[in-house]
Symmetry: C2
Subunit: 227 residues, 2 copies
DNA sequence: CGGCATCCATTTTGATACTG
DNA sequence: CAGTATCAAAATGGATGCCG
């Protein structure tokens, strides 16, 4: 099984040789927010069959970007996590996400799936380090039936799937209401103000939330109208 | 002709719907350093046939990422250039390149092609804004038979294919010597010191060159030795 | 549930031949 | 030189079926 390669001595091409195949970067996206089980990965990626998923995971393992781990008790079930090399794809994935937020989002299409967990990387992508200077706070978000959190520490953010240990504040919103938000280009802070989202916890931390995340103003691409 | 899509309401997935197909990001890489002609694009991308190249270009045009232009006289020949949306893929491509420089480069393989022009994005990827604070200089590089330049202006860099208008300094090196450099993790400044590269022009500008570009120390990925 | 194997209909691609 | 047309090889997707 000759693996296909661009055969270019170029950093971009070498990277795409490793992660440029279909589904691979989305798999990395999933793992960037924490280890995931085989089934959960498949559930997040409609259209990716078990065979191809297994093949992609093996590829990532073989190339040292991911590894199979055993979740600690009481879970005791296999899962996949990124290695250091895999984690460092974060900036590249975030750059793609930022571009997409600006140039490719618009309204949700009927056929499109959505998982609240994707918002986790959205938080990282929209994070404004300057606004977080001197701030130290942990936020927990509950969107629909998913929970994740962001740990802000003086200009840095760590956003992961799962509950926080000691959240300073918790923001809760339904999945539908959240989707309405994003269509509007609104942020969590807006949703809290308007009462669409429920917020509990430290008032100071909640006030800080306002400037922490900024969505890029959406642009439309000048596509040629010729079909 | 249904175009294949991930069907996910996610910025990363939407972006990959547009530029995630094979060759597309490499095409963007080529265009990020300036407009290119059909034939030049194909020459840079061994393995990409004319048919697929034409299809990819049409796709980029239709999606508003590139456009077909007429090069100004005396050239008067068609070429392709990025739109604003296309240019803004730069950060994403650079992030992939930075990852590759750190985790995927190593030695050049026999089968791999190399074009000096790819170094242009390398300059952007390795640029150290802090080292360029207050600096204003234009460098021209001649590697083998290709020429490109970098315009530094107080923490910003603009690196493009083609000669500079008024270079403050010019660095010349053969393609082979340059490839030896990169294998060593050396920079242009090192090459000048060792006499491998020829440098002419403003001494001050050349001194500044030293800190402007820093290659990330290469890491090897912990790949499982099981073949 | 986790994960591999298999079969098959569709797409995508790679390589080449061909035209204005 | 800029692209179309064509065809064989490879990758994908979807459905199962199997086994621990």
């Amino acid at each position: 099984m000759e693996q296909r390669t661009y055969n270019q001595y170029c950093a971009t091409a070498r990277t795409l040789d490793l992660v440029g195949e279909r589904w691979t970067l989305l798999l990395v996206r999933e793992l960037l927010t924490g280890p995931k089980r085989f089934g959960d990965l498949q559930a997040s990626l409609r259209g990716l069959g078990t065979g191809l998923l297994a093949a992609r995971l093996k590829h990532l393992e073989r190339e040292g970007l991911a590894r199979k781990i055993m979740l600690p008790p009481p879970a005791r079930t296999p899962a996949y996590a990124l290695t250091e090399a895999g984690e460092e794809l974060g900036p590249a994935v975030l750059a793609l996400a930022r571009w997409g937020l600006k140039w490719a989002m618009g309204e949700r299409r009927e056929t499109e799936t959505f998982h609240p967990g994707w918002t986790v990387l959205g938080l990282r992508a929209c994070f404004q380090p300057e606004a977080a200077a001197g701030l130290r706070a942990v936020y927990e978000f509950q969107i629909g039936d998913e929970v994740f959190h962001a740990r802000i520490d003086d200009g840095t953010i760590e956003a992961l799937h799962g509950p926080a240990q000691h959240p300073d504040a918790t923001i809760t919103i339904s999945e539908d209401a959240f989707l309405d938000l994003t269509g509007q280009g609104s942020t969590f802070a807006d949703a809290i103000e308007s009462g669409t989202a429920t917020a509990t916890g430290d008032r100071e931390a909640l006030r800080s939330l306002k400037g922490l995340f900024r969505l890029p103003p959406p642009h439309s691409r000048p596509s040629t109208g010729n079909p």
